[in-house]
């Protein structure tokens, strides 16, 4: 038994992504229509040409009707799915497999989330009836567990760690400032980030991803059909998804400085894609920077830094837009915003733009012009020690 992957068997031929943000005047229906309209236009196809749909949303609708009703789909299969904050990626993965299986010629993966109708701060999820013993801390609190544990393990002072986290937020805001679709389009000074009101542990408001509404979509066909629709298809090299045993909160050996689920899904994805050295082979990575300590730890889990070294790489600018490996060139969850079901597809949208060299001047990645052809997206859901993780690798050329 093995995870074999579907390297180069399917390709993306069209994508759409709404601006993310506080869409007080648009509902989930509007966002779905906007994203799917842009995706079909980008591929030069009609919605009727699409054989099946995978809709990812955590809480903005249930069942395939959430998509088929607003789009008035003509009796097509629509799968609605959820996998926490990796929901958008999960929609893409399942849609890609459907094409690879030969069941359909053309499918759409689409994700949406309408978070700003709840009236609450941060992310709110409905609880399944339970015995009242489950931890009720917020998402920023559970991810902030990483900060003191990382600092202690690697001998980083609280002040140094805060500087590192601040720099991650500063970089992602700077990238987002260049991106017209991002929720926050302003650079934010390190002083402002550092002094922002505390949310959890060392995390201030500016260490947290934007709570926003949005939708993104991708149209997927067999690789051999891809050039019928576009000169620049994006080929799927690897798709890996793991759900861990949620051992962290119950296993004394878990130390809150890594996501084992991410390590495993990255290993699987690199094997599928034939990647030996991700840091040098990838042109860019969109990673799940829900909170700044998450991005820090992910740099090590994804193999972009040696253990205990990511904090120094962050300070050295390794992951800046013009650094050795651009991480979250579109602003990431931090600045682009995080409408749960849409985020995984939003990450692919940035890979789509960059690898096709369609990102505007000023935020295009130099190493792609220079010939690099691979991008990674990483999406996770849950909390440190208890999460699901998705890693994809996509590329602008089929393998030789």
């Amino acid at each position: 038994m093995a995870s074999r992957g579907i390297r180069d068997r399917v390709a993306i031929v069209g994508m759409g992504c709404t601006p993310f943000g506080e869409h007080w005047h648009k509902g989930a229906d509007d966002l779905l229509i906007d994203a799917s309209k842009e995706a079909t236009a980008s591929a030069g196809v009609k919605i009727d040409d699409i054989d099946a749909f995978w809709l990812g949303t955590m809480g903005s609708g249930i069942s395939g009707l959430t998509l088929s009703r607003p789009l008035k789909l003509d009796y097509k299969p629509v799968t609605r799915l959820e996998n926490m904050c990796a929901t958008g990626s999960e929609a893409f993965r399942n849609a890609a497999y459907a094409v690879a299986s030969g069941a359909f010629d053309m499918v759409m993966a689409i994700g949406v989330e309408k978070l700003k109708d709840s009236g609450f701060s941060g992310l709110v999820t409905g609880a399944i009836p339970n015995d009242g013993t489950l931890p009720t801390i917020t998402a920023p609190a559970s991810f902030s567990f990483l900060a003191p544990a990382y600092a202690k393990k690697f001998g980083v002072s609280d002040e140094q760690l805060k500087e590192v986290l601040t720099r991650i937020a500063w970089k992602n805001h700077r990238n987002g400032a260049l991106n017209p679709r991002a929720q926050y389009r302003k650079e934010v000074s390190k002083e402002t980030i550092n002094a922002s009101p505390r949310i959890a542990g060392p995390l201030g408001v500016f260490d947290c991803s934007g709570v926003s509404d949005g939708s993104a979509a991708a149209i997927i066909v067999r690789a051999e059909d891809a050039y019928k629709y576009t000169d620049k298809p994006i080929f799927v090299k690897a798709l890996s998804f793991v759900a861990g045993p949620a051992a962290g909160p119950i296993d004394p050996e878990y130390d809150y400085t890594t996501f084992t689920e991410v390590v495993r899904s990255a290993e699987d994805a690199y094997r599928q894609a034939g990647i030996q050295d991700p840091r040098s082979e990838l042109a860019m990575a969109e990673v799940h920077d829900c909170f700044t300590p998450t991005e820090l730890v992910l740099m090590e889990d994804l193999g972009f830094a040696d253990r205990g070294m990511a904090w120094k790489e962050v300070l050295a600018g390794t992951y800046d837009l013009d650094g050795e490996l651009a991480v979250n060139p579109d602003g990431g969850l931090k600045s682009f915003g995080h409408p749960i079901g849409a985020s995984g597809l939003r990450m692919l949208f940035e890979a789509w733009l960059q690898l096709r060299q369609e990102a505007p001047e000023g935020r295009s990645i130099a190493s792609i012009k220079a010939g690099k052809k691979l991008a990674l997206t990483h999406n996770l859901g849950g909390a440190p020690g208890s999460c699901v993780s998705f890693v994809s690798v996509v590329g602008s050329e089929p393998s030789a």
């Binding site: 009236g119 609450f120 701060s121 941060g122 709110v124 609880a127 009836p129 339970n130 015995d131 009242g132 013993t133 931890p135 009720t136 801390i137 917020t138 920023p140 609190a141 559970s142 902030s144 567990f145 990483l146 900060a147 003191p148 544990a149 202690k152 009101p197 505390r198 949310i199 959890a200 542990g201 045993p245 051992a247 909160p249 119950i250 296993d251 004394p252 878990y254 130390d255 809150y256």
Partner: protein, 469 residues
């Protein structure tokens, strides 16, 4: 007839310095401090803590029956003692019932313990307050006590008692009201004081002792002024009138008499007479005589003493925080949803875990699971687990956070991940702690708390607190 075989107490961590009341209101307050239940405590949780203190003070106690006395029950119509029973991990065959409503019910609970056969745990807890600026606010106290009765190895025995009962309107409260009403103070004094003499006389006569033989006289109740007069009127020897604890912790209602008895037992030698007087809807006088086993009991116990619990108090509690906890100050909540009520069936399925803090240990590899699991996280063996109660095991902080966003009666929420001594990992809230003092490596112990109340359901579970000397 049974005697006392163990005893314990619980004084919550926080104190209100009475001076801060007048500093804010311009009136009320006084000298000294009163004990204050934290926002996550109620009479049920405090009675549980006092009972744990009593049951760990002596090994080998197997409780056959439990009674719970309070004037401030967490639930009406539903028995509160069953939650205490569950939190202590007592056998299903042990009876558990409330003996509540008024302060005087605590005297009945002590007498029921004396009359019982087998091992009976009488537990007492109260949260006493009044409207801002009132005497009840300043003079009340929140605390709990537990007395275990049995036949073997008694440290004290009841040797005499006397009672006076009378119906008059001194203090009262209709169920649902937050504060009691009090008649003119001098009327209560005029009713109570004449009731004391006959009760004291009857008790001493039954015990076969004279006033001179009283080594410790403690007077509690609901009328401080009458109590003062009565204490003097008994005429005990100089030095025999014991401190009633009110200047340090206040008067904790239904827990006061038992706490005063605990305090006297912690001081008494062998063969000494302790007389407790309760001035509440009558006067009840109990004469206890200590045994030679008392000193040995005190020597061998490792549980924290009442004196330590009183000394460990934190008197920096701000008055607005006190008012908020007591429900007299409505404050803007976090912009977060209210918590959901726990599910009845789900809570029942996990009774041993939720109330008893019972984990499972893998019989193959020894890994502990909190919460209990059927599949081992280490070796994946299925359904080969043995239950293990961990309420009294200490743990060490692995990582922590301060959550400023989460819903809480008293933000911020401190959350910790801890490794237990002897194995096992648990993530939970931390309480009774200054957020700035939390650190990796800090030692914690577990405490039974009320996490919240949602849709009229109290959600009880365990938290961590710092291990205090």
């Amino acid at each position: 007839m049974s005697g006392i075989v163990s005893y314990g107490s619980y004084i919550p961590y926080f104190r209100l310095d009475r001076k801060v009341i007048a500093a804010t209101l311009g009136t009320g307050g006084g000298r000294g401090t009163r004990a204050v239940a934290s926002y996550d405590e109620d009479t049920t949780s405090m009675a549980t803590e006092a009972s744990r203190n009593a049951l760990t003070a002596r090994t080998g106690l197997v409780v056959d029956a439990l009674s719970f006395s309070t004037t401030d029950p967490a639930y009406l119509d539903k028995t509160n003692a069953t939650a205490i029973h569950a939190a202590l991990g007592l056998a299903s065959s042990a009876m558990a019932a409330d003996l509540g409503g008024s302060v005087r019910s605590s005297v009945a609970a002590l007498l029921a313990g004396v009359s019982s056969t087998g091992t009976t745990l009488a537990t007492f807890a109260d949260t006493r307050c009044g409207l801002p600026g009132s005497g009840d606010e300043a003079n009340g106290g929140d605390a709990a006590a537990a007395i275990v009765f049995g036949a073997e190895g008694t440290v004290a025995e009841l040797v005499g008692r006397g009672h006076s009962t009378s119906e008059f309107l001194d203090r009262w409260r209709i169920p649902g009201e937050s504060a009691s009403k009090i008649w003119e103070e001098r009327f209560g004094e005029s009713e109570y004081v004449p009731l004391a003499g006959p009760a004291v006389t009857d008790a001493l006569k039954a015990a076969g002792i004279t006033v001179d033989q009283i080594d410790y006289l403690v007077v509690g109740g609901v009328h401080p002024r009458a109590q003062g007069v009565i204490a003097k009127s008994v005429g005990v020897n100089a030095g025999a009138l014991a401190d009633d604890l009110s200047s340090a912790i206040g008067a904790p209602g239904a827990a006061q008499g038992a706490l005063q008895l605990v305090d006297a037992l912690d001081r008494a030698g062998a063969g000494e007479y302790i007389v407790t007087v309760s001035v509440a809807d009558g006067v009840d006088v109990l004469v206890w005589c200590t045994t030679s086993a008392l000193a040995g009991f005190r020597r061998q116990r490792t549980s924290r003493t009442l004196a330590q619990q009183i000394a460990d108090g934190n008197a920096t509690l701000a008055y607005p925080q006190f008012l908020t906890w007591k429900g007299y100050l409505k404050r803007e909540p976090a912009r977060r949803p209210d918590p959901d009520r726990p599910s009845g069936p789900a809570s029942s399925r996990s009774e041993d875990w939720k109330f008893g803090f019972v984990s499972s240990r893998c019989l193959q590899c020894g890994a502990r699971h909190l919460p209990p699991a059927r599949v081992c996280v280490k070796c994946r063996t299925i359904d080969e687990m043995t239950p293990e109660r961990l309420a009294d095991v200490h743990a060490t902080i692995v990582t922590f956070t301060i959550d400023y966003l989460a819903f809480s009666m008293s933000p911020p929420v401190v959350a910790v991940v801890v490794n237990l001594d002897g194995g096992g990992r648990f993530m939970c809230e931390m309480t009774d702690v200054d957020p700035a003092s939390v650190a990796i490596g800090q030692k914690v112990e577990f405490t039974f708390r009320r996490l919240n109340t949602a849709q009229s359901v109290h959600n009880y579970f365990w938290k961590a607190r710092p291990v205090r000397a």
